[in-house]
């Protein structure tokens, strides 16, 4: 069973590495473990908030992939309503509401990454959740589009969601700071 998932992931990784049609995504393995992917998202300049940024993220696939979704976690700091912000532990606990604590820092919270059988938050219907026909490619494309248009209905970072709604200027400033930091990482 586990090796079926490994075979599938190996094939998908190979396909993504050879496919030239996917702009702005590059991926590789962490410690040669096919269940741990390191991906680099290069955001196109057209994006208002994160354009031009290079964001590192990590995809962790479960043993029963593709029946269960992988987890995705940003490793570059990113201020976004749908991903937990990197911050010191004290502000962390102050910021985060009830449901968000489930996620460690940087974890991406979008509906297609939620397993099909449970809905801890009662926000989204089953139709938006994980389906085994999704692939790493579709996940990453969804995440890139999430960066462009956050879903503030089920925020993981309450502060970011609030700012996104109420103070777009300040929000943009924080995003540009992320982008500059991500370029400095290079």
């Amino acid at each position: 069973m586990a090796s079926a998932a490994a075979g599938l992931l190996g094939r998908q990784l190979k396909q993504m590495q050879t496919d030239k049609d996917i702009p702005g995504i590059s991926c590789g393995l962490v410690d040669d473990n096919v269940f741990e992917w390191e991906v680099m998202l290069m955001i196109s300049d057209e994006d208002r908030h994160y354009g031009g940024g290079f964001f590192r993220a990590r995809l962790t696939f479960p043993e029963d992939y593709p029946l269960m979704p992988p987890k995705m976690k940003f490793e570059s700091p990113i201020f976004h309503p749908n991903s937990i912000q990197f911050s010191s532990p004290d502000t962390d606990s102050a910021n985060l509401g009830s449901s968000s604590k489930v996620y460690p820092n940087g974890e991406v919270c979008i509906s297609i990454l939620h397993p099909p059988e449970e809905d801890k938050y009662g926000y989204e219907s089953a139709s938006e959740r994980w389906s085994p026909v999704q692939s790493p490619e579709t996940i990453l494309l969804s995440v890139i589009s999430m960066l462009g248009s956050p879903n503030d209905e089920s925020p993981a970072n309450l502060e970011a969601a609030k700012m996104w709604r109420e103070d777009p200027k300040e929000f943009r400033k924080r995003c540009r700071a992320n982008v500059r930091a991500s370029l400095g990482d290079e």
């Binding site: 090796s3 079926a4 075979g7 599938l8 593709p66 029946l67 269960m68 389906s131 085994p132």
Partner: protein, 472 residues
């Protein structure tokens, strides 16, 4: 990878004639034992069925279970590229016993039932999420299943060296009966170990034998590996100088053997010279390319650096060009919006090279418009003039007519007044004698005055008649 064949085993051991004789006889026995093998295969298959239900073939092709390869149909390597439309959207490999849902989405049966079993009570199609149920799966037509089973795949034991390419449906048969790299039970009845089918003769190859070089106990199957690997004593014959060298020394020998034919060190920069190592040193001292080699390498590095920088710049340039295009587009849309609002009756759609020419043409169009308007105005002027003239002429005639009627009326009034006056005078004459002469005189006056208006009455009636006729 390199499992020793019977021949290799034979050649690797010139010293032990006993062993080689045994192997030779074994090889002859191999041909004779085909029938035996076939029997054994049947036996194996029976055992396989017992041991390995077909549904549990989902372990990596690298693992073996008691010598028999267990393989995963989804990890097979396809010999040709398979059409994307034949790929299961869940496991991303060509369909295995495909099943369709009511919404006509197709999956491997196993993938689909696993996916559905992970869903809650309301089962939906993994692709389109339309409601469905696990028992609404429909198998695909046999033709399609057969075509899928005929896809050509590489043998799952390719990693051991099998180069066979077979239809997917025949993989199990290939492994069970034909693949030379599949492990089979040792033909010897006393031995319960396994060996590759291509080496399986009548004899057990697992029996420990002393290595002809070091005397260590090694099975015949592993002899060649032992002599190439762990055996310290075995000698290897150098292919270049044909002297036999102990294996431990061999590494050193190849790097220093004077007979080895080498290429010039500058061969990658175009020197074709090849010679034995003994002569090579002489060549290297005189070869111009060898002397140039460091420079060329440096240049190559620089070129590579430049190419990378160029690529980077090109990417940047592409980004800028894209930006420029968007700017141009927005400018064009703004210009066209301007044109639309100016609502010129003609030529408005014509493209303009510059704002100046645009303005000039606008000006020209406006001038034409003005001249057209002034022409229309003068036209209208003339029209109103004539209309005015016509109506005033008529009014004049009517006024003249009225004048005539008025004059006639005045004459008639005068006549009436004078006749009345005559009547009054006559009455006075009847009353007094003195009054007769007056009356006469008055009547004469009356006669003369009454004689005068008559023609004028006639004229007036004439005039009236004329006026009426004119009115008609």
């Amino acid at each position: 990878m390199d499992d020793p064949s019977v021949d290799e085993l034979l050649m690797g051991d010139p010293s032990s004639s006993v062993l080689s004789d045994r192997l030779l006889s074994d090889q002859e026995a191999l041909t004779e034992s085909r029938s035996y093998t076939r029997l054994m295969d049947a036996d194996l298959r029976a055992r396989l069925q017992l041991r390995r239900p077909t549904s549990s073939r989902t372990i990596s092709n690298k693992s073996t279970e008691n010598g028999f390869s267990v393989w995963d149909i989804r990890n097979l390597e396809y010999a040709t590229e398979v059409d994307d439309n034949l790929m299961c959207p869940i496991c991303h490999s060509p369909f295995v016993s495909p099943a369709a849902l009511k919404c006509q989405h197709i999956f491997c049966r196993q993938c689909l039932s696993e996916a559905l079993s992970h869903q809650q009570d309301n089962k939906t199609c993994p692709t389109c999420r339309r409601p469905t149920s696990s028992n609404s799966m429909v198998a695909l037509p046999k033709v399609i299943c057969r075509m899928l089973e005929e896809l050509r795949v590489k043998c799952p034991l390719a990693f051991r060296g099998c180069n066979e390419i077979i239809p997917r449906g025949n993989v199990q048969t290939h492994l069970d009966r034909y693949c030379g790299y599949e492990e089979v039970l040792c033909p010897s009845e006393d031995c319960d170990q396994y060996l590759p089918r291509r080496l399986a003769g009548k004899e057990c190859l697992h029996e420990p034998l002393p290595c002809p070089d070091c005397g260590e106990e090694v099975s015949l199957l592993n002899l060649n590996n032992h002599r190439m690997g762990s055996c310290k004593v075995a000698e290897i014959i150098c292919t270049d100088c044909s002297s036999s060298v102990p294996k431990s020394m061999y590494e050193d020998h190849i790097t220093s053997c004077m007979e080895t034919v080498l290429k010039c060190t500058a061969s990658k920069y175009g020197c074709d010279f090849t010679a034995k190592r003994s002569v090579m040193q002489e060549h290297i001292e005189s070869c111009a390319l060898v002397k140039l080699a460091p420079t060329i390498a440096l240049q190559n590095d620089r070129l590579g650096e430049h190419a990378r920088a160029l690529k980077h710049l090109q990417q940047k340039n592409a980004v800028h060009e894209a930006f420029l295009d968007t700017v141009k587009d927005t400018l064009a849309t703004i210009a066209s919006a301007d044109l639309a609002t100016s609502s010129l009756p003609s030529d408005s759609a014509a493209p303009f090279d510059s704002p100046l020419s645009h303005l000039l043409s606008l000006h020209e169009a406006l001038r034409e418009e003005v001249s057209r308007v002034s022409a229309a105005v003068s036209d209208l002027d003339a029209k109103t003039d004539t209309a005015f003239l016509n109506s005033s002429l008529r009014a004049k005639e009517e006024a003249a007519h009225r004048d005539a009627v008025l004059a006639q009326l005045r004459v008639q009034l005068q006549w009436l007044v004078s006749s009345r006056l005559q009547g009054i005078h006559a009455a006075r004459a009847g009353a007094g004698a003195l009054g007769i002469s007056d009356t006469r005189r008055n009547s004469n006056d009356a006669e003369s005055s009454s004689a005068r208006p008559l023609p004028s009455t006639r004229r007036g009636s004439d005039g009236l008649g004329n006026g009426g006729r004119e009115k008609l």
